[in-house]
């Protein structure tokens, strides 16, 4: 019975972790202030 409880705890922790990280998601970022280029940069 205790082994079953331990397994359920492990499974629940994995589910909570993945759902939480996915819900937060990656940052959306901001529009770069850099312009669209009309001359080739000297280097990347």
């Amino acid at each position: 019975m205790r082994a079953l409880a331990a397994a359920v705890i492990g499974l629940a922790a994995a589910l909570v972790l993945v759902v939480t990280v996915t819900a937060i998601g990656p940052p959306r970022g901001h529009t770069s202030p850099r312009p669209l280029l009309t001359s080739p940069p000297a280097h990347p």
Partner: protein
């Protein structure tokens, strides 16, 4: 104490094993996305190219034509499209600026490309356009989806403003990366004249001269199959100004050349993709394969501890049973 440790190890083993498919099949499709605020510039060059001189309407050989492609993620528009469609969107405002050997403008074509951040499928919202003309894309452009497959895709051609198949041509090694090669040929097609040309030439001017613009190209991409990012691109590109209604008259070559990425941009793109592919591989390969192995090891350790605990109890004559509670003594007199 060993009993408790084996239960903790069992919980960790289940945690690791369950995490593996959850990361690959639940988290990865939701977390892997093209960043909405991406900014990237790529410089391509055509050496010994042919270019029309709009002053004389004669083609001339030039030492070099430079093409500067800039992509800029518009996060404000992406948020608006997301609110409209309910999907994570990326809006790229791009500029393809072509410069002659003296740096003077040959043409400039702005573009807006709106697509799903996870699948790269186009979204028909947010004002997608080419050179100020609304378009409705089908297929991909600039980038392939994550985890590229060895089959043909539909690729949007900015000049014809239509999509056509881009064919998988095999797997190669390029700068130490395994890449998939794709090739698309656009046959001679009448295409719109860019709105911005040198010497104040406009599409109306070209039309009044009795000319129309035709174009053909064969483009090749070397694509990292993990991130879907091209690490190299080349194009055999030809443009002609043809006399409307006079097929017998000699067309004017507007541009002819082999366009290839500048070597320093190839190196920087390969370096960028090599680092980013590790993040994708972490969610698709390293963790999904490593976690079950770790889970199995933890489970084995839990079993070893449990067996040792039971053996110790058996040898010491301990009558305790599951949970360490003392077994109820048998009633006397029986």
């Amino acid at each position: 104490m060993r009993r408790r440790a084996s239960l903790v190890l069992l919980a960790l083993a289940v945690f690791c094993t369950a995490l593996s498919p959850l990361l690959r099949w639940y988290a990865f499709p939701r977390l892997a996305e093209v960043p909405a605020g991406r900014y990237q510039a790529v410089v391509l060059e055509a050496k010994d190219a042919t270019l029309v001189d709009y002053a004389t309407l004669q083609p001339r050989r030039v030492s070099k034509v430079t093409m500067i492609e800039t992509l800029k993620g518009n996060t404000e528009q992406a948020a608006r499209v997301r609110a409209e469609t309910g999907r994570d969107a990326v809006v790229w405002d791009t500029l393809t600026y072509v410069a002659g050997p003296d740096g003077a403008m040959v043409s400039r074509i702005p573009e807006r490309y709106v697509f799903d951040a996870h699948t790269q499928q186009p979204l028909h919202a947010g004002g997608e356009s080419v050179d100020g003309t609304p378009v409705r894309r089908d297929g991909i452009e600039y980038k392939w989806p994550f985890l590229v497959r060895k089959h043909d895709y539909r690729y949007f051609d900015m000049q014809t403003r239509t999509s056509a198949p881009i064919h998988y041509r095999g797997t190669r090694t390029f700068h130490g990366l395994e890449v998939y090669c794709f090739e698309q040929t656009i046959p001679w097609t009448k295409v719109p004249v860019p709105r911005t040309l040198p010497l104040g030439v406009t599409p109306d001017t070209v039309r009044q001269l009795g000319l129309e613009r035709w174009y053909t190209t064969t483009r090749m991409f070397w694509v990292d199959p993990v991130t879907g990012a091209p690490v190299n691109g080349e194009e055999d590109h030809r443009e002609e100004l043809r006399w409307t209604g006079h097929p017998e008259k000699q067309p004017i070559t507007a541009f002819a050349g082999h366009v290839a990425m500048r070597p320093d941009y190839v190196d920087s793109t390969v370096a960028l993709v090599s680092s980013q592919r590790q993040l994708v591989l972490l969610l698709t390969t390293y963790l999904p394969w490593g976690l079950p192995v770790l889970g199995a090891a933890l489970l084995a350790l839990a079993l070893v501890l449990e067996i040792r605990a039971r053996n110790r109890r058996a040898h010491s004559g301990d009558l305790s049973h599951d949970g360490g509670k003392t077994a109820r003594p048998a009633p006397e007199g029986r």
